[in-house]
């Protein structure tokens, strides 16, 4: 029998892959909507991450198949309304995947020919305007279904915002690492301009601060009101068996990036930015483990078993190959 902690490793892998595939399109759409001039350097690489979407869908099906192993609340209808069952969850998740897939796919397709005529540009702008709505709503649903509702009777309206801001910050980290590695290894057919690092670093700083704001605002309200139902989950994570993970991700996602990025010279140094990106990405990974596994902590620590390591290596190995193929197809790398 695979424990919940092990099974949650797969949930974490799914969330990471899903957010990488979504946030790329979201970034391209946002940059287009605000008319950022540096979008031309980055948008093709950014939307390439959408090629991971089918992998996320396969992982979703596996997790849904896992049933009670993935969603331990299933069956505890004494605490939950009866409509909140596995069938409804599967239906809304799959429907959401289809709608978002169609919209984001259209965005990617239209971006390719957005400059061909004013009409195409107009259509592209409309689709770009819809992407943030879809992103926020879909990510809210994912945050609720895969993390917040793991513990019946624990709800926080801030949680979804906290979740997708964290995920978007992680995406920025992955993006900067991708650009850095490809640039250094000389694989790019045409390297993005160096100022792109600075822009992404500024965004990383912004999202790091925004993340800690959402984290603290939620924490303060729960801590001060001191309802047992609410504080138990937080205190268990903070002081329980996963306490060290809790403080580690806090340092990696906020303390280190903030202390580094607040100085302008670090925001202009690609090496330093890549290092900070590593910290944010790893921190987010640990954060996801802590929120998911930490809800039902066991003696089995995540990523210490064969299933944990094997499934993660397999998922990210496939993701690496898909991304490489996508970047090559798009003639971004040699």
């Amino acid at each position: 029998m695979i424990s919940f902690s092990s099974w949650s490793v797969l949930t974490v892998d799914f969330l990471i892959i899903l957010h990488l595939s979504l946030a790329g399109v979201m970034l391209a759409a946002l940059l287009h909507l605000v008319g950022a001039k540096w979008r031309f350097d980055i948008r093709a690489i950014s939307v390439s991450f959408f090629s991971l979407y089918p992998l996320a869908f396969i992982l979703l099906l596996i997790l849904l198949y896992g049933g009670k192993l993935t969603f331990p609340w299933v069956g505890s209808y004494g605490k939950l309304p009866t409509w909140n069952n596995l069938s409804f969850l599967a239906t809304r998740e799959i429907l959401g995947f289809i709608v978002v897939g169609i919209l984001y796919g259209s965005f990617v397709k239209l971006q390719a020919k957005a400059e061909s005529s004013p009409d195409a540009s107009h259509n592209f702008r409309w689709v770009a305007a819809l992407v943030p709505f879809a992103h926020v709503l879909f990510c809210t649903m994912v945050a609720w279904d895969f993390e917040m509702t793991l513990l019946p009777n624990w709800e926080s309206s801030m949680y979804s915002i906290y979740h997708f801001i964290s995920a978007f910050g992680m995406y920025l980290g992955v993006l900067v690492l991708t650009v850095f590695v490809l640039d250094k290894s000389g694989l790019f057919i045409k390297s993005p301009s160096p100022y792109v690092y600075n822009y992404i670093a500024q965004m990383m700083l912004g999202f790091s601060i925004l993340w800690v704001y959402t984290f603290f605002a939620q924490y303060l309200i729960i801590w001060y009101a001191n309802f047992g139902d609410e504080t138990d989950r937080i205190f268990l994570m903070q002081n329980g068996p996963y306490g060290h993970l809790f403080w580690t991700f806090f340092i990696m996602k906020f303390v280190f990036p903030f202390v580094m990025l607040v100085f302008p010279f670090n925001r202009h140094n690609p090496g330093a930015i890549a290092l900070i990106a590593c910290s944010i990405v790893t921190g987010t990974w640990i954060e996801r483990y802590t929120w998911i596994s930490g809800t039902y902590p066991t003696k089995h620590m995540p990523m210490t078993g064969i299933f944990d390591i094997g499934s993660t290596v397999l998922v990210f190995g496939i993701a690496y190959m898909i991304m490489r193929r996508s970047l090559k197809r798009n003639q971004l790398i040699r």
Binding site: A44, N84, Q111, E155, K190, A217, F227
Partner: protein, 472 residues
Amino acid sequence: MSQMINHDIPDDHEIQIEKKFIPKDLDIDKDISWARINKDVLRSLDRPRPIFWVIFFAALALFSFGVYCEKYQYDNGLGVADLNNPQVWGLYIATFIFWIGMGHSGTLLSALLHIIHADWRKPIYRYAEAMTTFSLLTAALFVLIHLGRVWQFYYVVAYPNERWVWPNFSSPLVWDATAIGTYLTSSLLFLYTGMVPDLAICRDNATGARKKLYTFLSLGWQGTDRQWSTFRVTYMTLACFLMPLAVSVHSIVSTDFAVSQNPGWHITSFPPYFVAGALYSGCAVIITLFILLRYVFRFEAYMTMPILNKLIKMTFAIAMVWNYLNLIEYSTVWYGDNMIAKQQLLDKMTGTYAPVFWGMVFCSTVMPFTLLIRFVRTHLPTLMVVSLILNFGMWLERVQIITPTFGHSQYPWTWTSGWWPSWVQFGIVAGSFGWFTMLFMLYCKIFPTISMYEVKEMVHDQGKMLKAKKVA
């Protein structure tokens, strides 16, 4: 999936084609001379349209009525306002939040847009910052008014005293007073610092008492390289400091409610919800004042339609964020299945205060979509009405946070259906609008509402950009 982006290679040719679609209109005419900028702005200090005085005296009349109501309440006690348990805050604290919210967007947007180098802020940020200052001053009045015994306000002010009587530092009300005090001081400093070069221009062109005032306030500004360099650093530092401060202040205001155990208030998304609401109402007021000042002071050449269009887009985006936060608040109540919280939400929608709730939904959720219509965006009288409706909706939002929650709390014996504020409360609220408008219009008559030196920079930059494009 990846095949879809096969042609998405950002080569130089493609970039140039797309760039053709970016700037449809310049934010400001590149041919305005610097002398004309000085002349137009300085003229606004001398000869506004006669409607200026109509607005001023109407505001004064409204303010006088508010003062009368406050005196009546002061002499007769809070009973005349119909404030009693559990309805202890009524319109006063709702309007306090409204003014605090309005006070946020001016400085916050100015600082944010300055940091990200958004040039279009330059003709409009000065009055937005002034709006912040006067909104905060107006909000502070309600802290005093709602106490009834106004002299007891010092219980929430953190100050050292020889008797070692300290306020309760674990009370969000004390955090509130401290945060707002800090924000008011910083906003005033930010407004003043940004004005110094313009005050020197006023000094050089004024006579009599005004010259003395501007000479004193311009701090001996001569526009030397050293002064400009120090000025830039100071201004940027203040902007960076104000950004997190502004966000934290309205978040702290939200904790007045959210850290309580009351079902309608104990909501973890309240801090960003309050910040988004503040920005939303503030943006709507900036649009209102944009249209007003553009007409009253003949600023058509500076407060241009492309700038207004950007402001409208920003308002729409913030309105959507606010609506999202509303949506997740209600969804969480629905999901959480807490009977009291659910009942309270249903009571808001169907009970005594249903008109307030649905009024808010209409004004703040439905009306923003009219901003997508070109006619609304370009027809200024219509836009003015829409911006006022948005503002009214945001005021209703603050009322529906407070009154229905007090009226339908945890214990049925505290429920009060059918309670409505007395005329004294409405009178004081109306007076606060008069007070704000009066102060704001006075400010516009004494100090330049458009940043002359930054508009000059903007004109220069636009000209440079166009030249570069022609060369390309």
